[in-house]
Symmetry: C2
Subunit: 446 residues, 2 copies
């Protein structure tokens, strides 16, 4: 089956006008891989999604659940019985089971764990102790480890005895009797080395294992910086407890990017969330903006007299505010990106501030001349044209201060600067924009 | 050396107050990997960056250049001589050399190519024919291929003869005499299979090779959906021409996310770009916003009479506009995300539209009651309180139409919806906000 067929299958399933019988859909689903089915579920409105999921075989459900985003995963899990869930996750790897179970209510979790074998239960309980956003949360326990004194021949025999190696096994790990990590050995090194060589002679000890407590974003950075496919994970005593593979790291990178994008708009929901949930996820942000909009309105309110005298000030004032808002969002975005990529630190922040100020002055001159001319052409009023130009320059400079300081302060306060940032900076530029323009008008026109 | 040491090195280098001698910096740099040095360069203002780069050994420069973002890479390349550049890229893989050379001016490229061996030149020229954003642009030609009639024993001997396998070799490929792709064989399968088995008996033929013309974002999707580490790439005739590895795909994913984030704010520059370049990169967006701000101002201008009579309409009108802008950005973000993840199609867009409308009505009711009460408490004017509530609901509903239609229309017009989208949708909500509020006031108050 070619890739185009797969794409066609997806389109047919997602198109409700195609009127397939349940059996036809079942047949199409059986031709798709778990990630493809997960994508179909994530591209379906809730009702259709529940229907599609119910058509899966129980043994497929586990793999599909693991591939889904957290919100949809939880929805579907909450709709199936404990027995079905146990059956569904039976064949999954430990980190996958933990990923699915960790968000269950405690009571339900206990019931499910009590139905598992003691060995599985113990292993899952250990997995559940690691926070979701750490190396521990990405951990696979399917590691293959050998001793430094083994010969390559012994290693190859051992690997043959295993039958299939775990997925994404590009290397195995070398440990001592206490299971402490000593080094690693790539599969290609094993295959290209002479069978009589000893593990200790060819193992690599340069790259250090990842600490189980390391933040998952830092894990992603390590993988990217070192072009890793897998890495060992050790506990505080240096004992090998598992490995992390690139496929789970790619998910971290995607989710991180997704959250940055959504966070800046104050939404936190999957694309096809039901209306009630979507409304709840967004109302906080809208309410926050309402509060800040009234703050901006209060700034205008101070200048009722001057607006009353020269009504087209009211026509022009949103221009100053809006330009400041866009400039501030640009500065904020650059700072947020720099913070995310860990490029910004105490040694270069001053340079960045000066650069942003220079940018705002450069663009401020160009734009204020433009605004001044358009305003003059429109209202034939030289003084107002000059005032709006000055107010614009003032507001662009304030946008730099807000765009740089707000994310840094939010970070100091342990808040995510991507989430609160844009509403706060645009409030600053709204207020400064209204006050500078109307204030200058009050001074020079009445 | 532990990971913490590496981090310390970076901090020391980046901190100009540490006053290191050039030799000390050189020593620190020599302890760092190419991606770490690239990160240090990307975290440095231009002058410091040029200095750091000049301290690298020529043989390190190639690896570091490849790890850098396009803009910084080009800057640094433009500062070094042709001889140094040829020396620097000598040890790189073909796809890496192509990545660095492809943005050079034609004249310079010709000079550099003419200094290379005929074989290298031919290979690089082939690499340069593939567009940057396709599978061809990610291509490595360091593939290992075997014939279906080979035994595993022969394959292992062949691999041993190679010495080190290319990086990220998790599989080798099976081709016929015409070099047409037939299947693949994972290294772990080779190691765990009996030496007498034939390649044809154990090769996998299920996953299809990637077409050289495939868009790089679709390559990334294929890698993610199938948890791939590497994939074969074929030309239009089905001949194996190379492979793509996960490390390059991770870069595509990161860059894509980065561009989405930056695109929405209309910035396109590296974090420490010099002021002139940063100003140029942003001025287009600011000018576009200036045009749309004047459109919104023209809407207000229609209602000078009513503002003249009731001046606090001018105080309140930005609230309606601003709330609509935030709601529209939320809808836009959800649609953009859905489009990026290929979740939105003709079959579910209608559901999405209805959902967004329901969200806007739900939140519209809550927020308009809130706005009404606050307005009444502030100005003691029942009619204005009712009017602003109604205008807010109208504007929130318009935000849904704009937030959904604008990105879809931009995409139809082959524009990137992430880049033009937000300015257009907020213009719509500004105009509708001002007209609905001031229009209702004109009807009911004068």
């Amino acid at each position: 089956m070619s890739k185009n067929d797969i794409k066609d299958n997806l389109d047919i399933i997602l198109d409700d006008s195609s009127n397939l019988s349940l059996n036809q859909i079942r047949r199409l689903l059986s031709k798709m891989t778990a990630p493809e089915i997960a994508h179909a579920l994530e591209s379906s409105p809730p009702k259709q999604r529940t229907l599609l999921f119910s058509l899966l075989k129980t043994e497929e459900e586990g793999d599909v659940l693991f591939e889904l985003g957290e919100e949809i995963q939880q929805d579907l899990v909450s709709n199936i019985s404990n027995e079905e869930l146990i059956e569904a996750v039976k064949e999954l790897e430990l980190d996958e089971i933990v990923d699915i179970l960790q968000n269950l209510p405690e009571e339900r979790m206990d019931k499910i764990l009590s139905n598992m074998s003691l060995v599985d239960r113990k292993r899952i309980e250990i997995g559940l102790t690691y926070p979701d956003n750490t190396a521990g949360g990405l951990l696979n326990t399917d590691v293959i480890s050998v001793r430094p004194s083994n010969s390559i021949k012994e290693v190859i025999t051992y690997l043959r005895d295993q039958g299939d190696l775990p997925e994404n096994t590009d290397k195995i790990f070398v440990v001592n009797q206490e299971n402490e990590y000593l080094g690693e050995l790539s599969i290609s090194k094993i295959i290209t080395s002479k069978p009589i060589m000893l593990v200790r002679e060819i193992m690599e000890t340069e790259f250090l294992p990842i600490d189980v407590d390391l933040n998952d974003k830092e894990v992603a950075t390590l993988f990217e910086r070192n072009d890793l496919i897998s890495s060992s994970v050790v506990d505080a005593d240096g004992k090998l407890i598992g490995r992390i593979t690139i496929d789970d790291v790619v998910d971290v990178i995607r989710e991180d990017a997704d959250q940055n994008l959504l966070g800046m708009a104050g939404v936190a929901e999957d694309t096809f969330a039901p209306p009630g949930r979507a409304a709840r996820s967004r109302v906080f942000w809208l309410s926050l903006n309402l509060a800040t909009a009234f703050i901006a309105a209060s700034a205008i309110n101070l200048f009722q007299d001057v607006i009353d005298k020269i009504v087209y000030l009211a026509v022009l004032m949103p221009i100053v505010a809006s330009m400041g808002g866009v400039a501030a969002t640009q500065t904020l975005t650059i700072v947020l990106r720099g913070l995310t990529l860990e490029q910004i630190n105490t040694s270069n922040i001053r340079w960045l501030f000066k650069r942003e100020l220079a940018v705002s002055i450069l663009n401020g001159i160009v734009l204020s001349i433009l605004v001044g001319f358009i305003t003059y052409a429109w209202f034939q009023d030289t003084i107002i044209a000059i005032l709006i130009s000055c107010a614009l320059i003032i507001n662009l400079m304030s946008s730099v201060v807000a765009g740089i300081l707000v994310p840094l302060i939010l970070r100091k306060l342990k808040q995510d600067p991507a989430i609160g940032g844009s509403v706060i900076v645009t409030t600053v530029t709204d207020v400064v924009g209204f006050i500078s323009f109307l204030g200058l008008a009050t001074i020079y026109l009445i």
